[in-house]
Symmetry: D2
Subunit: 253 residues, 4 copies
């Protein structure tokens, strides 16, 4: 049974900051956002977690293995290096969606995302180490079959992107509604989902749904582990097996 620890990362009062005293140069905002994301990826990744860029102003992380002190260090380190600060809210649940709902509610209770006086909130609870197991995290790594031959080398670069993006839009919604899983586009033609305990059939149904709705053909490798990194590496290896054997769903444990 999975027990996903999710952290919601929210830049404090970012909307108003972007236009104060007047609109800031877009390239600087883009640089700021993508570097903050890169830094969080490293800070969380060094401790075995994954961060997803999501909206950039609100990022979602799988943080099994990080305790509240780790979160505090990360928050402080960002505050030491950026003109903006971040709030962090941590929660756990059998499904990632339930965990995230819990984390979001805690943060909302502390104040609005655009409340000037709500700064550097650190809320919630991490899993006690005694309660952690080797099956806490399930990561699914989805990939478009032959994206290069089907899209990248055929269509113009935006039309390729539309295909992949529509595939993503279909998958994210389905996985959320049917499975309480959270799916994130991670670049190229890849989508990584943090999932509850799902079966091969449930993954196959998701893939079929995306083919039906968006006409995009996916395959998926699934890994299970103590933290996001372990589960994610297994998912990648499983995906390599799926590629080698031309199958649609592969698990690695």
């Amino acid at each position: 049974m999975t027990n996903t620890q999710v952290t919601l990362v929210q830049i404090d009062n970012y909307g108003p900051w972007t236009v104060t005293p007047e609109p800031r140069r877009e390239v600087d905002l883009q640089t700021l956002q993508s570097r903050l994301y890169a830094d969080l990826s490293q800070l969380v990744g060094d401790r075995g977690g994954y961060v997803f860029f999501t909206r950039f102003d609100n990022m979602i992380a799988v943080t099994n293995g990080l305790d509240m002190d780790d979160h505090a260090v990360i928050q402080e380190s960002v505050g030491n290096r950026y003109p903006v600060s971040i709030s962090l809210s941590v929660a756990t649940g059998q499904s990632p969606a339930a965990a995230l709902s819990d984390a979001t509610e805690r943060l909302q209770a502390a104040g609005s995302a655009q409340d000037k006086s709500r700064r550097e909130i650190l809320e919630g609870r991490a899993i006690e180490s005694d309660y952690r197991t080797d099956e806490d995290v399930q990561i699914a790594h989805f990939d478009v079959i032959d994206a290069t031959g089907e899209y990248t080398d055929q269509l113009n670069a935006f039309d390729s992107f539309i295909e992949i993006e529509q595939g993503y839009a279909a998958l994210m919604k389905y996985m959320r509604q049917e499975n309480d899983a959270l799916s994130f586009f991670v670049g190229g033609d890849n989508i990584i989902a943090t999932c509850p305990d799902l079966s091969a059939d449930e993954y196959e149904a998701a893939i079929d749904h995306v083919t039906a709705v968006a006409d995009v053909d996916l395959r998926v490798g699934v890994g299970i582990g103590r933290n996001a990194h372990n589960a994610g590496m297994d998912a990648k290896h499983a995906l390599e097996h799926a590629r080698a054997d031309d199958t649609k769903v592969e698990f690695l444990r």
Copy 2:
């Protein structure tokens, strides 16, 4: 009349690199991709252009004002600092979509995105400075009305994101099909589009379409300029006017 210069940026043979000799750590890939994007934002932005992260392995830039030498320096600088190299293809057209198609075809003609021997292609033509005008670029900055009150402070963070993402999926497709415009999610609840010469009515129709299809309410500020930065800053100011006056479409020239 617009005359958008578009550059397609493609990481050379990136798919195979990510799994050679075996799958690389996802956090390192994420860090690499987002920093490469940040660096390109600065390199292109310093010369008045905009880059959009798109798929990260294929990025699309509006590069009016950058000649082929500028592109060569950017390509060299990336090669000097990253373990991967990039190919660049430049083209111009009255519509951004036409320009991008042209740029994509040139690059495809030089070899597949996953061709081991296709490296650091620099293709295409930039607009001669004598032919540049102050109306070459039209940038539209779309923003969700009260995203904080409607979504961020209400729903869980993923469900907020689903709403914004479905809004984006609807807008990108509509703008491409109806207007030959290219629309990019830039974080938060913001979408920036590079457009041909569109009227206020055409923007209003796009906004209405997104409300109808995805139930997301947008407004837009539009700017016109010699390069992406000039047009984009005007678009931001126009959006501030739209916010102040509670209108849906504002132009600034």
Copy 3:
């Protein structure tokens, strides 16, 4: 008694790379070097260690608390994100200088810094966790007294720098020869040294030497801890006490 674990970080075959196929743009080299240093600071710092930029192509780190697996992850992460790779050699000793000599010899034995075929060496041994104590690391944080009033606000910026630099040159040599300590300029008017078990008198003698030889007035805060971060933070607090009480040498335990 201290037991400093030192890691030598060396960029593999970097000299030849900087001029192949022809000299690379200096700004790109500077960017590469300083970002590599920043990343190592974070990667090592996340685990409680300190890295010093030293020559940039050869960096020296205090790594108590990092085992060989941590070193392997850091090496891999750099290899995933940079066009150059690094070798790492780890050793321990009662004096930092002895530890570094040992680490250097191991790496030299594996091949020249400019040997094309010597790549990503990972050598040496980390302290077993059972043998670690709370007094393994002694960090001294030296600071010029009133650098702003004496130099920065008085002399031209280069002449200020000459003063500080001559102070550093004197201190680094003295501390190495008299105390087997390694001292590093860390920006501004600050020097951080990793030291064996030194007394207040020995620090005072060092400060007197620098005043005599280079006419630069220093004070120092000293901290002792399980790793560089713990000792270093105590050193900073000790320095604040020295500032408050206008003393020259302060210890914090």
Copy 4:
């Protein structure tokens, strides 16, 4: 005749910031400083200039070709992305030292480096484009002969560094006092100097001085150009010639 444009970059009120509300983690300060330097290298480098890290809190740049608007954009871009701001002061002179003195005085006149209310000063004047020539900048690239064989592969890494550092301390002082030139350590065994119009004999005298005082053997390549990048690339090529012909001083024009 050279006409070097020098910019002094100073982080505003940085000393107090590093210890407010209490001492900040050293690894974060190191990361902040080295990334700020990397970003400035790119921002100035994209416009043909060179920045030297110097003390990190006070950096010195050769900025021929950047006008005051360029400086303003760079200042704004740093302000948009860092928790600290920078002041910039620009001056020109036949000798780099004279230019820097002028720039420093202007900034000192605007307030102390640690004056809370002195923020984002932008002072001075850039050379009008009509007055720029192809001989405005002279860059000398010094390099230790066979540093790898003499030091890196022989001594321990700190003792190697002491040798190079003492060589640098000797050169920087000599070049400043005898020639009004500003010399900067740029990593490895390399020193780059921005110089007035010096002859081969004057460079030879400097090299002889360093051999006599610090027992370190240097050679130097010299380039002359419209901006730092042009002069610097020629200096690098000249140095390659000096290596090939085993000479001590080479000019390239």
